[in-house]
């Protein structure tokens, strides 16, 4: 489930509010709030769309978890999914490296 918005990185662009398919966030005029955490479906898509790597979705789908923001930042966990799929400028060559065709039919 979505666990945290890093107030230091967030620029209040509200993209996460718009793209979350289950409407978990609310606009505030400033930094959005996680208003309905229980509705989060752990799809990680807000992370992909956040241009600032300011969000962290914990992989635990059924219960909230305590997260340590400083440790997450240090481990570069925030934005890791975005980088892996090539949605940052530095990683865009990864957009076309899907090798599923080598794995199908196993």
């Amino acid at each position: 489930m979505i666990e945290i918005i890093d107030a230091e990185r967030c620029t209040s662009c509200d993209i996460c509010v718009n793209v979350c398919p289950t409407n978990v966030f609310d606009k505030t005029g400033g930094i959005p709030v996680i208003a309905r955490q229980g509705d989060c479906q752990t799809c990680f898509l807000c992370e992909l769309y956040c241009p600032e790597d300011a969000l962290f979705v914990s992989p635990f789908a059924d219960e909230p978890q305590q997260v340590d923001l400083a440790a997450l930042k240090q481990a570069a966990a925030m934005g890791s999914y975005r980088r892996a799929v090539g949605w940052t400028d530095e990683t865009s060559d990864r957009r076309g490296i899907d090798r599923s065709y080598l794995l199908f039919g196993h």
Binding site: V19, P21, C43, G96, I97, L102, L103
Partner: protein, 542 residues
């Protein structure tokens, strides 16, 4: 290029509501809905697309990504692609539809390449087009939908259909969750592309998929088919949502004590996992993947690794606990019955595409291993959109018809007991999630579930209208309830095991039951048999 002249018109804005006038309304903005909207717009229709979430991130494909049934147009390859699935699907497929879908999927995938989808190229310089990354694909589909001139309403779940004096479908109304008001679209035809129903199991990307389109369609009298093929369960870590099963083909499954679960496998041995889970915890380790395979996996499906990387598990060397999450009709094959090549339903003005529609035509009773659902969504979406646009043109410039809402449960004042969506949802999930009820079916247990589900329906349908803040959840609960009843009534009617439908009391496939099961109804749920075309011909020749 946006063509302003064919945009749907915003006609009315009383306080607390917006109204649009369109030719075609598409409900749902996953692959099926976006292809439908583009297909209708290309035919000159003014189109509105309303999605419960955000068109581009919402639905199963956006979060998960899909293998695609993309097969080069070489007759031998196409023949093999059709033949190798027939047994698995219980011989309920229709060859003509399979061929149509293969053709269409090939064209659409190549269209995606022209639009800039970054398909990989293999070592021989050949583009490989049998897999789509969900976020990438659906971001592109949103862009193309907008460029086609379609008006997109995000965070705007449809709540009920509108019908004209003759009962033809003529639009829908819903709410705008972030604007806290209502929308109405008057349209000449409607495409239901709301996906399947996964009963809030948190299988990846699917909590928006609660069967809403089924309920709305049933309220105008639409029919369903193959609803007994509605019990796929997908493997994930016990704690996580990432139910991508392909890589579990490299797994060894073990009990608590470390001994191997006999017969357990992702493909062809999932029921052994379910039986083991009924006894206690089950673990997996992807220990059959060598170094090369591990690298390909990471490159191909980064989200598969999120639950592992974020908990410090190495899935190739560490043992981790797994579970099976229900996917209902998302990777099942049941859905709205299609009556012609345009994906029309049995109700005038109503079309269906993607998981909202049956996939029996191309996969019979089993979809596992993927690819067919994605191919169906892109093919049926286009057909439904074009069919709806052509139907709308036939109606001509509409004299302003008098429309009424067709919705029932949770929408009408009954001055009775209050509607409690949370309790309803919990009660429905209790009947469909347990493996011993839904994975492994048996007449006595199905009958018991149906009695409880029918009682829930009697209660919900006589309860008062839900209040504004609850109405979406109430309608979702009612839709899941209705879906469960068509599923189990159909499961009871199919007294054999075929495709994914497994009856403990009828463990074998029975040649005499090579037919389809149609279902429908809300207060009274009914089922009926329809012959499978090939079986009917065979009988005629006897």
């Amino acid at each position: 290029m946006t063509n302003q002249s064919i945009r749907a018109e915003r006609t009315f804005s009383a306080a607390g509501s917006v109204e649009f006038d369109a030719d075609v309304l598409v409900i749902g903005g996953g692959p099926a809905g976006t292809w439908a909207a583009i297909g209708a717009a290309e035919r000159g229709a003014r189109v509105v697309l309303a999605d419960k979430g955000f068109c581009g991130t919402s639905g199963a494909t956006a979060a998960a990504g899909t293998g695609v049934w993309y097969v080069d147009p070489d007759p031998a390859l196409r023949e093999a692609a059709m033949a190798n699935r027939e047994k698995m699907g219980g011989y309920l497929q229709d060859r003509r539809w399979m061929a149509r879908v293969l053709d269409r999927t090939y064209d659409r995938s190549n269209q995606l390449a022209d639009w800039g989808y970054p398909y990989p190229v293999d070592g021989n310089g050949k583009a490989q087009r049998n897999s789509l990354q969900g976020p990438e694909y659906m971001r592109l589909m949103r862009k193309r939908t907008k460029q086609a001139g379609v008006t997109i309403l995000d965070h705007s779940p449809a709540l009920e259909l509108l019908v004209d004096e003759d009962g033809a479908v003529a639009g829908a109304t819903g709410e705008r969750r972030q604007k806290h008001d209502r929308w109405t679209v008057r349209a000449k035809a409607v495409v239901i592309a709301t996906g399947g129903c996964a009963f809030l199991s948190k299988t990846l990307g699917s909590n928006v998929l609660t069967g809403d389109g089924y309920l709305m369609a049933a309220e105008v009298g639409a029919e369903f088919t193959s609803m007994e093929f509605s019990n796929p369960y997908a493997i994930s870590t016990a704690f996580g949502s990432v139910t991508k099963t392909l890589f579990f083909g490299w797994a060894t499954f073990t009990y608590e004590d470390g001994s191997v679960v006999p017969g357990a496998a992702s493909k062809g041995g999932r029921s052994a996992i379910a039986r083991a889970l009924l006894q206690g915890p089950v673990y997996a380790r992807l220990d059959k993947a060598d170094g090369d395979v591990q690298q390909h996996m990471r490159a191909s499906q980064p989200n598969f690794f999120l639950p592992f990387d974020r908990t410090g598990i190495d899935p190739f060397t560490d043992r981790f606990q797994v579970t099976l999450r229900l996917e209902g009709t998302v990777r099942g094959t049941g859905g709205l019955r299609i009556v012609n090549d345009d994906c029309a339903t049995s109700v005038s003005g109503l079309y269906a595409a993607g998981d909202a529609a049956t996939r029996e035509l191309i996969c019979g009773g089993f979809t596992g291993g993927g690819s067919h659902n994605a191919a169906w969504a892109m093919s049926s979406g286009g057909w439904a959109g074009q069919g709806a646009a052509d139907y709308a043109r036939q109606i001509g410039p509409a004299t302003r018809r008098s429309l009424s809402g067709a919705g029932t449960v949770a929408l009408r004042e009954n001055a009775n007991r209050p509607f409690n969506p949370a309790d309803l949802t919990r009660a429905v999930r209790d009947e469909v999630v347990p493996y011993e009820l839904n994975y492994f079916r048996e007449a006595g247990r199905l009958g018991g579930s149906l009695r409880r589900l029918d009682a829930l329906w009697a209660e919900a349908s006589s309860a008062d209208a839900a209040n504004a803040s609850d109405v979406l959840r109430a309608r979702e609960g009612a839709a899941m309830l209705a879906t469960a009843r068509w599923m189990y009534r159909s499961a009871l009617a199919r007294q054999e095991s075929r495709g994914m439908h497994r009856r403990d009391d009828f463990p074998d496939q029975d040649d005499r039951q090579r037919h389809y099961i149609t279902s429908g109804g809300l207060d009274e749920v009914w089922t009926a048999f329809r012959p499978h075309a090939a079986a009917a011909y065979a009988e005629a020749a006897e």
